[in-house]
């Protein structure tokens, strides 16, 4: 299918491009310094920053991985990613515009738990232990809201009130979505080739266990930051 091939091609190119950029989950010190020196609207830098932030934001990507892990139909992938996107866009925009003051560590700890949640669901944990069915779509949307708060706290330090705030914020948001698309393409690339193998079902359980472990590590790391600082 030509669309799939295009996705793979674009994904590979952009993966190569972004991997060469500096790693960093927070906005890197140099970027932050540059951005703070800007006054007025600067759509270019903020667009790039948004994309880079999402592409190197391993907590957001791990959650996305968990979400699309067992989604096979393009329609489902689009649905869940859209739910996540709408969720994080709402809180990103409102959080920065309304100047919400949230503890970054606390939000990031919850983001860690979002990864635990999705991985646990992937190994059928809720199905085994809960008598009722969890509404995954609602959960992805709600956790999307949390991820957006995380994005907002990171951006708030760099963005100044006044001239160009809305432009910069929207550019950052669009950048986040572009970065997410690139990352998604890369993840789907790897995931679809892996899923076509017979060993996938067996390995999927182990990988989701590790994903849950990663979520717990993130949670522990962030909650310690929250408690110590």
């Amino acid at each position: 299918m030509p669309v799939q091939m295009l996705v793979r091609l674009v994904g590979s190119l952009l993966l190569l491009g972004f991997v060469s950029a500096a790693w960093g989950h927070d906005i890197s010190a140099e970027n932050a310094e540059f951005v703070m020196g800007l006054s007025g609207a600067a759509p270019g830098p903020f667009l790039y920053l948004g994309a880079k932030h999402m592409f190197t934001g391993y907590d957001h990507l791990l959650f996305l991985l968990g979400v699309i892990f067992f989604l096979y139909r393009p329609r489902d992938i689009v649905l869940y990613v859209t739910l996540f996107t709408v969720g994080h866009s709402i809180t990103l925009l409102l959080g920065v515009l309304l100047g919400w003051q949230v503890n970054g560590h606390l939000v990031d700890a919850i983001i860690g738990l979002s990864i635990v949640y999705k991985a646990f669901e992937n190994i059928k944990g809720f199905e085994a232990f809960l008598p009722w069915e969890l509404n995954t779509r609602a959960a992805v949307f709600i956790f999307g809201l949390c991820h957006g708060l995380g994005l907002a706290t990171k951006l708030q330090d760099s963005v100044q009130d006044g001239d160009g705030l809305l432009t910069n914020l929207l550019s950052f948001n669009i950048g986040v979505e572009l970065g997410q698309l690139c990352a998604l393409a890369a993840i789907l690339l790897v995931l679809s080739s892996w899923r076509s193998r017979p060993s996938f079902q067996r390995q999927a359980f182990a990988v989701n266990t590790l994903l849950m472990g990663a979520g717990f590590v993130l949670f522990g790391y962030q909650i310690t930051g929250f408690l110590l600082v």
């Binding site: 059928k124 944990g125 085994a128 359980f205 849950m212 472990g213 522990g220 310690t224 110590l228």
Partner: protein, 181 residues
């Protein structure tokens, strides 16, 4: 998911516990020592991660610059004065020793690069020699005001070893700056 019965609970429970144990191990062995200096198991120190967190073992103090040495002699006419200071980052160490043939009025002090921070003076006096170790309280220039209080020309010899970047000499003329390799 078209199972007629709920999936088996035991493997899921075991997997969840395993993931928590893995996470706790990773956290306490590596992440918490490296990020926060929190090292109850002592693994951070063993693996050399504790230094990443910026916390110090008390006997050791990391230095932020290159080790350099300097030996310089000043000729001072009666009542002639000069200032000679080394630029160091905060916490930079300077081991010094100076001696002169005559009594010298001196003031060992630091001036911050940040003009908003006040000068600090550590030692003032009138003597022929002095030895010591100075730790820079802030990033800036650190060193001496020397004035020859004798009636004849004199030579003052200053020997230092430490973690400084460059030095400046201030006399009646323009300020001189000396670079080091």
């Amino acid at each position: 998911m078209n199972d007629n019965q709920a999936p088996s609970k035991k493997p899921i429970l075991l997997a969840t516990i395993a993931s928590m144990l893995i996470a706790a191990t990773v956290l306490f062995v590596a992440v918490l020592p490296a990020e926060y200096g929190f090292d109850p198991l002592g693994t951070g120190e063993q693996l050399g991660l504790i230094g990443l967190s910026g916390s110090q073992v008390s006997a050791l103090q990391q230095q932020p610059a290159k080790w350099r040495k300097d030996v310089i002699e000043f000729q001072l006419a009666p009542f002639e004065a000069l200032e000679y200071k080394y630029h160091m980052l905060e916490d930079g160490a300077l081991i010094f020793s100076w001696e002169a043939q005559e009594d010298v009025l001196f003031d060992l002090h630091s001036e911050a690069d940040d003009k908003a921070v006040a000068e600090q003076s550590f030692a003032k006096g009138r003597q022929r020699s002095d030895n010591g170790v100075l730790r820079a309280p802030f990033t800036g220039i650190h060193g001496w005001y020397f004035q020859n209080r004798g009636l004849g020309d004199m030579t003052l010899r200053l020997t230092v070893a430490g973690f400084f970047d460059y030095s400046v000499e201030m006399t009646d003329g323009p300020t001189q700056r000396y670079e080091f390799e």
